[in-house]
Structures are given as structure tokens and as C-alpha cells.
Amino acid sequence: MGYQWNWGVFLQPSAAGDDTYLGWMFAGLKMTIALSLSAWVIALLLGAIVGVLRTAPNKVLAGLATAYVELFRNIPLLVQLFIWYFVLPELLPKALGDAFKQSNPVFQMFSASMICLGLFTSARVAEQVRAGINSLPKGQKNAGLALGFTLPQTYRFVMLPMAFRLIVPPLTSEFLNIFKNSAVCSTIGLLELAAQGRQLVDYTAQPYESFIAVTVAYVVINVIVMTLMKKLEDKVRVPGYMGGK
């Protein structure tokens, strides 16, 4: 084949001269992590609220929550991202839209990506939260109410703590998904890990090394997240339930 392997390329100074190519990769890795974690915070908060509302006795609230979930689940992530990034600034009041368009481009890309990933994932988290709540025995809610808790208190002290423990495994896979989905944000020019990989191919002319390194980085993120979540799972395991002792 005649391909010249050269793993040393990562230690060479980059085209811009201020960094090595390895430095580029780490910059991308940092961006991927920052984006995924901030989007995850949004996803968890909104997902918990929407998931709870889906189980609410109030039909209007439950209906709105269902519409929210369906909206974000049935449009491809890429399309949602482009709508946040290209469409929304146009539809905002002119002053606000212009201010956004004149802000730091990295800020524009990052905030659109964060909101997009956060809301997209929140719909999926909401489904897990709802499933967790619905899997609790119905008597738990009654027991909470019978002790004099209000309905919000019953959710807060009785149902949600248990539901969240039950859904740690599916939430783990959503958490992993957010890292993987963050790669979609390379399409609007955000220099996260996948985008840096592409850039490395262009600049180093060592496509195999570049892509292998980036792919391995994703696998490593995956392994680290799984290990951490396994620890969390063990920590919140309820004695006497779900395989706890």
C-alpha cells in the first residue's frame, strides 16, 4: 500500500505554530467534554420536570409535556441544531438577534450546540423519568399522601428519589449518547473532538493516525463514563432492592 505510518506527527508543531497537533486534539477533547457536561445539566433538569409533568393528574400539563417530548424526538438532531443555529437568531427580535450574531463566534456555536443537545436529550430523559415513576407501585403515592404529604411533597420525598435510582442504567446510556451526539456539532464548525479530527486529516496528511486517535479518544470517554456511572449505580443502590444486599 505504501502508506507511511508516522505517529510522531502528533508531537510536531501545528500549522498555526502555537501548539502541537496533540494540543489540537486535547483542545477538541476539552470542548467535547465542556459541551456534553453543560448540555447534560440542562437535559437532567428539564427532563426531570417534563417527565414528572407527563405523570401529572392535570390533563393540560401532561398533554403539553407529551407534545414537548414528541417534538424533540421526531426531528433529527442535525436539523434541530441547524434550526437553533441558523433559524432562531433570525426569528428573535432584531436587536437580540443582531447582538447574538455579532457575539464571539465560538460563543454562538457553543450556546446553540448546548441548548440543542440539552433539549434533545431532555426529551429522552423525560421518557426515562416517566417510565421510572410509572414503574413504582401505586401504593407508594397513596402512602405518601396518607402521611399528609402534599402531591408535590410526595413526588419530592417518595417517588422521585426512588424513580431516579431505578433509572440510573438507562440514564447512563443517555449520558453516553450526549458525548456521542456532541460530534454532530462539528457540522456547524464547533471545534470539538470530531472536528479537530477532520482538521488533523487536512493539516497532517496522516489520515489514519488522526482518525484512529480521535476514535480511540471517544472509546476512552465511553469507558470512563461507564466506570463512573457503575460506581454511582453501586452507591445509590437501595439495600434489599434491585440486587442490593
Binding site: 500500500m1 414528541e70 417534538l71 424526538r73 421526531n74 426531528i75 433529527p76 438532531l77 442535525l78 436539523v79 434541530q80 441547524f82 434550526i83 441558523f86 433559524v87 433570525e90 426569528l91 427580535p93 432584531k94 453516553l176 458525548f179 456521542k180 451526539n181 456532541s182 460530534a183 454532530v184 462539528s186 457540522t187 470530531a194 479530527g197 477532520r198 486529516v201 489520515p207 489514519y208 482518525f211 480521535v214 476514535t215 471517544y218 472509546v219 465511553n222 469507558v223
Partner: protein, 226 residues
Amino acid sequence: MYEFDWSSIPGSLPFLWDGMKISLEITLTAVIFGIVWGTLLAMMRLSSVKPLSLFAAGYVNFFRAVPLVMVLLWFFLIVPKFIEQLFNLPPGTDLRLTSAMIGFALFESAYYSEIIRAGIQSVPKGQMAACYALGMTYGQAMRLVVLPQAFRNMVPLLLTQAIILFQDTSLVYVSALADFFGAAYKVGDRDGRLVELLLFAGLVYFVICFAASTLVKRLQKKYHPA
């Protein structure tokens, strides 16, 4: 306030439809290949032959750890060059569509394999024992008894995965291939009407996917009442 102008859509419908055909083509190929290869992977994973189950586990875990965008980039930027050199094709042969299909199929089969594995495991162990007691071979038992039951349980999940896959095909955007989304983006970019075209694309995807997932839910109720 932004002034909408939807006039570039009607004239572009044939072009958009061509794009939709590509999206559907990729979806269909990947679903079929994904189910076939996914079934084989699932059977390997459950097999008692260590190398087979290790290979299948490695394959599935690898593809589930890597972003689809990354897999597609491999199949657009690296694999075509590799194939060109391997088969001595003239440089510049357009392998993008073939490459996209292969990439999707290999990626999705990992997800299908997990669904199918769970389906096979949901069939009671006694079924297999009963087949052996009747003198069937492993292959016969799988083909005639276990898989038909497993697939029946899995139909809704397999279809839901197909809907996700259809949404994911929009990611061939990274190869500048004109699938439905790519076509919509091109029209919007050309006419300076990106806002309208992106909203239109979002609406079309929503209508298709919402209708499809509603159908799947109905089907699920029919198969598994209550």
C-alpha cells in the same frame, strides 16, 4: 421581524423528493443489512464458542462507543481512498453513496444486534430444550422456534430503531451527499432562504417520524394488549 418567503419550496420539490429517495434508500439498506448482520452478531454473542462471542461483543461495544458522525467520516474520507487503492479504481470514483450505506449498515447492526439479543433471551430456555428433545439441530431450533418468537416480540423495537435510523441518515450531510436534508440545505443556501428550508425540513421529518411512531405504538398495542 423576519419576513418569511416560502416561494422557493414549490419549485424545488422534485429535487427535494430525489433527496428523500436517497434518505429512504440508505434507511432501507441499513435496516435490512442491520437486521441480518445484527441477528448473526446476536447469535455469535450468545454462542458458547468463545472466539465468536468475544468478537461479537467487541464489535457491538466498539460501534456503540463511537459517534455515528465519526463512523461516517471514516467511511467518507478514509475508506473510499483505501478501496480505490485496493481495487485500483480510477481516482475520483464517486463511492459516497455506497460508502454511506456500508457505514450505516455496519453501525446500525451493532444496535440491532442488542435488540435481537434481548429478544432471543426473552424466549424461555425450555423452548430450546423442547426442540432438542424433538431431535432438532441448533440451527433448526433457532430458525423454526426461537427466532420467530423472538422477532414477534421485537417488531416494535426494530421499527422504532428504523425511525431513529431514518433521522440519523441526515448526518450524511458531512459528505455533502444530497439526501433530503442535504437537498433542503442546498436549496436554502442557493436562494438565501435557509430559514424557510430548514423549518420545512424539520416539519417534514416530524410529520413522517411522528406518524410512523404512532403507527408503531398502535401495532404494539395490537400485539401486546394492556
